[in-house]
């Protein structure tokens, strides 16, 4: 049966996908440009008799997500850049206590209050463990409304499976634009992974469960961190995901994620029509980064395109091991590069 296609805003599609993934509880705080998402969740979570709270702050919201996640529930919050900065405290605790959750960042320009236009300046914060301490978490970067829905639907499973926050790093463009989108069927709760570590419903269980990130004995804490990092290594083997076009014969590979990757796809097609051998490499998982594939392409010439002053470009340099010439083209402050801008940059680099 063909799935029904609906015309929806990205923010609303993310909300609908979360509900279909079995989101038991949503906690949020209004912020542009994600506010349609919290409104969508208010209506549809309450209609479905699930938990919805408009919290007093992003700080409170993320700690509600943490509390709900600690009980084994599927919980989610969403915000935009300044709000996600506030959530970093709770994300660090969730990573320290191995609590699954889904965090959506419909990013805008920064630093500070910045602007409300789309931007990709939160790459470092998202992929480097934006709070204190040693940790990483899953980061998924959609390029369309459909992919935003698909990745949100999947993020709940990934968070549960790997016991950590899964972040959807979208931007104001993905959140605000309308596109056709179809949704999978609501997830069967029976398919969820068991959470024997969760608090509550003890029912005679001998040991008590503590959801806790406290480790006051350095020797023990070091071991715990090594164990968590061993899990990260397992994730790096199976999780990285990317999309690529014409990389094999390319004289120049564009690298971009999310909205800037859409622009790059158009620029690549324009370049190909001009006979220029241009390819595109688009990471879908920003952590774990598809570093193996990028490493296989080392020696090729790259142009990183971002809506920032240059953040992912550092990973492109890192994972091509200094063997590639890597250029950067970025717009920032809420500006979005056009296909023509990127094509001009391509021609400058290729001198054609």
């Amino acid at each position: 049966m063909a799935l029904e296609k609906r015309l929806m805003k990205g923010n609303e599609a993310i909300g609908e996908a979360a509900i279909r993934a079995g989101c038991d509880a949503y906690f949020g705080y209004p912020i542009t440009p994600q506010s349609e998402l919290i409104a969508y969740m208010a209506k549809h979570m309450l209609d479905a008799k699930r938990v919805f709270i408009q919290a007093e702050s992003e700080v409170s919201a993320i700690n509600m997500v943490y509390g709900a996640g600690a009980t084994g529930a599927r919980a989610m919050t969403s915000s935009s850049s300044p709000g996600v900065s506030l959530k970093q405290e709770g994300i660090s605790y969730a990573c320290g206590a191995d609590v699954p959750m889904v965090v959506v960042n419909v990013a805008r320009s920064g630093p500070g209050l910045g602007g409300i236009s789309p931007a990709q300046g939160d790459y470092f914060q998202s992929t480097r463990g934006g709070g204190h301490g040693d940790y990483y978490h899953i980061v998924l970067a959609p390029k369309s409304v459909q992919e935003a829905a698909d990745l949100t639907y999947e993020a709940f499973d990934l968070a549960d499976e790997w016991r950590m926050p899964a972040m959807i790093l979208a931007d104001g463009m993905i959140g605000q634009m309308m596109e056709g989108v179809s949704f999978p069927e609501p997830k069967d709760p029976a398919t969820r992974v068991a959470k024997p570590w969760a608090v509550g419903n003890r029912n005679g269980r001998k040991d008590v469960n503590h959801v806790d990130s406290t480790h006051l004995v350095p020797e023990e804490f070091e071991q715990a961190l090594h164990a968590r990092y061993a899990r990260y290594e397992e994730m790096k083997k199976v999780l990285p995901r990317f999309e690529e076009h014409f990389v094999e014969d390319a004289d120049l590979i564009l690298t971009a994620y999310g909205t800037s990757a859409r622009v790059c796809l158009g620029a690549m097609q324009m370049a190909r029509k001009l006979g220029l051998k241009v390819g595109l490499f688009r990471p879908i998982t920003l952590w774990p980064y598809p570093e193996k594939r990028l490493g296989e392409l080392e020696g090729k010439r790259f142009l990183a395109v971002e809506m920032s002053m240059g953040q992912m470009v550092e990973d492109v340099r890192l994972y091509t091991h200094g063997k590639s010439e890597v250029s950067f083209y970025g717009r920032c402050g809420g500006m979005i590069p056009t296909e023509e801008d990127v094509l001009a940059e391509i021609r400058k680099i290729l001198k054609k």
Partner: protein, 259 residues
Amino acid sequence: MELIYGHPKSLKPIQTKYCPGCGHGVIHRLITEVIDEMGMQQKSIILNPVGCSIWASIYFDFDSVQVPHGRTPAGATAVKRMLPDHLVICYQGDGDLAAIGTAEAVHAANRGEKFTTIFVNNAIYGMTGGQMAPTTLVGQKATTAPYGRDPDEAGMGYPIRVLEMLATLAGTKYLARGAVNNAANVRKTKGYIKKAFEAQMRGEGSSIVEILSQCPTNWAISPVESVGWVESAMIPFYALGVVKDELAPVADTVKEASK
């Protein structure tokens, strides 16, 4: 034979890390006695805060969630919403509740979240070593108020009466202040805790029991002197008793508990 006194089942038989004369141990015992009496051990969850009572979770024989400093009511909100048939205890010190977590405490109370906050007020920061708390009395010395708390010249603010502040909120249904400085106050405090826990399980809205507690180490006096200081300095400012009771009429458990 009827057991009239014993170690609560919900309290693990291990020595605590608390200092001699500290009130936390007594408060832990009261909580667990009430839980045992209510038969709620299998369905109790404590949210233990940052501060000395971060240790609380290892002493209780039930599940726990440890949250960031001050976010205890946010965590408790979600735990109780997800597990409404559980007894959820939000255990907070004065720094946790009335300084860094004021927003979370006020808004959880205002939403009428149906967990119980046990608010331990010892007028000082314990874990970090005797800094000024939001509840430190005017003139009381602390490492960050070396000449005593001075609201005027040094701009250190005034001690906050948390329950009186929260009493104005429609979401709060039961607010009571007890102390653990003598046997009579301990017994009354247990009654407040029981009433609050029972109200929680009936789903009546926000219930908070503030407990004036000793911190001889950071007050730099002996344990014996410290119980006297609660009486002579704290109670005159933080009046004991029920601050607000808008619970539906039921059997008076406070009276029953003190029988």
